[in-house]
Symmetry: C2
């Protein structure tokens, strides 16, 4: 028997290499050859562990999504349990840590594009989106009537996506702090505008 855990090590090696190559060459330029090179493994190993290129790409996206989800729950746990604070934590998490640089924004955009033509990736994307929305709704419900909460949740979600997209297009010159600040300003405006209507 080979060393225990080789499989999970190799899988992660390949996923890391995949993300790196997509960052560098885009989704189109991410060939098995380049990925194998970046991982210092051979091309054959991909089908051995992931069945093929598509399987590797889906695993890589799953990894990105779960990283984001982990950032969210970690950051949320550290904040006071007040609705406004929790909302701010959600925003912070979505622009935090490993997530925030133009490179990883490009990777996200690439996956989004890909997701439109892969039911599996699309499903993953939807699950995450619904989680974000229901998360936002949960806290907004405590601050405003349900209709306004719904609208505000949609708007916050769109804002987050929009800033991400702009980050991807801005060639390294992303200012996560600015995006976070603008999102927070919006949230306070929305709370203020709908306050008292509760």
């Amino acid at each position: 028997m080979a060393r225990l855990g080789v499989e999970s090590i190799r899988r992660q090696q390949l996923i890391d290499a995949t993300l790196k190559v997509i960052e560098e060459h885009g989704f189109q330029g991410a060939t098995i050859g380049k990925i194998a090179g970046a991982s210092e493994l051979s091309v054959g190993i991909v089908s051995h562990y992931f069945g093929g290129k598509q399987g590797l790409l889906e695993a890589a996206m799953r990894y990105l999504l779960s990283s984001l989800q982990q950032d969210v729950t970690t950051l949320m746990a550290k904040r006071p349990n007040a609705p406004r604070e929790r909302l701010m934590a959600i925003v912070d998490a979505n622009f935090s840590g490993a997530q925030t640089n133009a490179q990883s924004a490009k990777t996200w955009l690439a996956f989004w594009t890909q997701a439109m033509h892969s039911p599996d990736l699309m499903r993953l994307q939807r699950v995450n989106e619904r989680r974000l929305l229901s998360n936002l709704m949960f806290h907004l419900r405590r601050l405003m009537p349900i209709e306004q909460a719904r609208a505000t949740a949609q708007t916050i979600a769109a804002l987050i996506d929009g800033f991400w997209l702009r980050a991807a297009m801005s060639e390294g010159r992303i200012e996560p702090n600015q995006a976070v600040a603008l999102c927070k300003t919006y949230i306070d405006q929305a709370i203020h505008a709908n306050n008292g209507a509760k």
Copy 2:
């Protein structure tokens, strides 16, 4: 000599076919063969008029960008020359007419992804983005102090992009009316929040 204007007719034929094929098969699936088929021309004609596939794709994106720009100026011209009205017109234009359906949102997303790896397309994208921002700023400046105007302009731009992105991901179930309504609600909130500080 051949009939005058054949060149521009053929170019448009190919661009239309390109957009149609991308809508239908995605960016990856948009092969020269399919595009030629959809345009009822031969594959050879592409390199004759555009030098190659890349040239055709760039021309198609140029066409989309200029269509959007035209929608904006057309709609703006019809509205009263009041700052708030003009802002609303900008939002309307960005979700109007030929622009608004999940298919064309997918096409946009595909081009954005592509633009990240093509300096030429990136430059085009930037020009358009700067035009949108300065357009927004021009009117916001009349409603609030410059710092708030800057922040609001960034937020509106991000909102527009964000709703587009969500439209692209939402598999045909896009509600442009809802996106427009939410953008407008935000604008009014922002005006209200920063009013009097003028």
